[in-house]
Amino acid sequence: MKLQVSNSPHVRDKATTQSIMLDVIIALLPATFAGWYFFGIRAVLVTLLSVVSCIGFEYLSRRIMKRNNTISDLSAVVTGLLLAMNLPVSIPLYMVVIGACFAIVVVKQMFGGIGNNFVNPAIAARIFLVIAFPKAMTSWTIRAGEWFSLRSVDAVSSATPLTLVHDGNAPSMWDLFIGNKAGCIGEVCILALLIGALYLLIRHVIRPWIPVAYIGTFLILVFFFGHVNVFNFPGGDFTVLTTWTDLFYECCYMLLSGGLVLGAFFMATDYVTSPLTVKGKLLFGFGCGVLTFLIRYYGNMSEGVSFSIILMNILTPHIDDWTMGKPFGEVKENAKA
């Protein structure tokens, strides 16, 4: 192991990888429990299977690659939990195992294990599963267990939520907020996600920069350039949607539907795959917001949040290069090194 020691001042802190991961797990639990409540026993099964197989693959791959075992740092548990939260409850169980294998073995361990993964393993696995099994990954069910014909709450390019509202089909705002809607296991209950996020913020595990920049950028774009926007107001080409209530509703719907809150607070803020500086974090969040907006409104896949985070993950080293501060008092020639 290579230890890098920089100049003083040093910050002494009790935080370890394990303690941080434990905090993240605690923060994820409310949303997980809410998901279990809304989706029933099968959600419990999917979650446990995902976590157990992530730990198993981590153990096996470290073993086979003859590296020291790192399951005790709990990062595999976090990956498993996040992966399960990103899956629909109706997913066949073997797909969960395949997803866990992809997340841990391919994305994490093949690139060197914790700290060396170039993208977030859980999101990469979700995208892999969506591309591999498009049908199973986009069949959403709601609480009653009946199949819901709404393609995906994240997919709004064809039928807008607002038209659904006018047909009387869309869930109410309160249902969206509390989680009584179709979606992935962990993304439905916004309230529980916010409680978890608050815990992480209070414990200083994450900083608010990325989520704020992400959600802020996204909402501003929806406000100005969404299906209902301030520019074609009032009247314009939109014959159906012409009130301020609709505009407000579209913003809220976009915020509360899909995996935006889960992604912004729990996945975009992953230490390994997000920039280090505040400026970098803001830029990262801004990029995520723009990409999510573009994919949700103009893309043909329903993976706005996942794709935007993974794309920004890949850009992270460049953002870091760009925004890294110059050492104070450094000689000018060395300043850029």
């Binding site: 066949p92 073997y94 591309i131 591999a132 099994f133 049908k135 199973a136």
Partner: protein
């Protein structure tokens, strides 16, 4: 091996050629070199464009491999026969012309007798002309060696390429489509759903990477086995023909 030989790889004086007659090019070595040590697809990473495009099914990868095998063997034979006639400065156009001749033959045969195959392989048959495997072998082997070794080299390189294509094609077809040579496999479709991912370009790159990794592991083991011997990392003993393999320059320094 002298340095001058490493640099001037294209043309040999008769004396030099005489010396090369006694070189280590045994048939077994040439064959293994083509299939494994310098497998064009998985070791030298040549011909990647058709590799990624046609490996969506085992059948199309097999026939693509066969086409390359034929063109490679035939063109290496002709180039080797003409190696004293082709002027050094005009060698590339000459090679291309010879290769294009055989590609035209292959394409005409395929479009005449196997129209369905022609449909599925499409542009990738004519593109064999500019496939770097053919040019690389013509340049580094056929233009310097006698006819029989050249034929063997072309054949074994073709076999190596076919095997690589077949490996990738099988993986991608079985996982992505649930079939193998268009025969439906039992488990797929009922118990396990085939994974669309492997039929798409990202799946192609993914499988390609995994295959390269596996062959690399295999070679590493083999290397450890033979590390006491005189073979260099790329499995060749500082031969002048493994230009495309950067490993040679590494071991060259160590020899001196």
């Amino acid at each position: 091996m002298s340095d001058s030989k490493m640099k001037d790889v294209t043309y040999r004086s008769p004396d030099e050629r005489l010396a090369e007659k006694k070189s280590k090019y045994t048939p077994k070595y040439i064959f293994l070199n083509g299939v494994l040590f310098e497998n064009p697809a998985l070791r030298l990473v040549l011909g990647t464009c058709p590799l990624l495009a046609v490996t969506i099914s085992a059948k199309s990868s097999f026939f693509m491999g066969m086409a390359v095998l034929f063109v490679l063997t035939a063109s290496e034979a002709i180039i080797s026969l003409l190696r004293n006639v082709i002027p050094n400065k005009e060698r590339i156009p000459a090679f291309i012309t010879i290769i294009a001749t055989f590609v035209t033959i292959v394409q005409m045969i395929i479009s005449a007798y196997f129209p369905a195959l022609n449909e599925s392989l499409g542009i990738y048959i004519p593109l064999i002309v500019v496939n770097c495997i053919l040019l690389a072998r013509a340049e580094t082997f056929a233009s310097k060696q006698k006819v029989l070794p050249s034929i063997l080299d072309g054949f074994s390189m073709g076999v190596g390429f076919t095997l690589a294509l077949l490996l990738m094609g099988s993986i991608r077809e079985i996982l992505g489509c649930g079939t193998f040579f268009d025969v439906k496999l039992p488990l797929f479709g009922t118990v396990v759903e085939p994974m669309m991912f492997f039929m798409l370009p990202p799946g192609g790159f993914f499988v390609f990477g995994i295959c390269i990794c596996l062959v690399q592991l295999l070679m590493k083991k083999q290397e450890k086995h033979a590390s006491s011997g005189s073979t260099s990392p790329c499995g060749t003993s500082s031969s002048s023909d493994c230009l495309s393999c950067a490993g040679c320059n590494l071991c060259k320094g160590k020899e001196e």
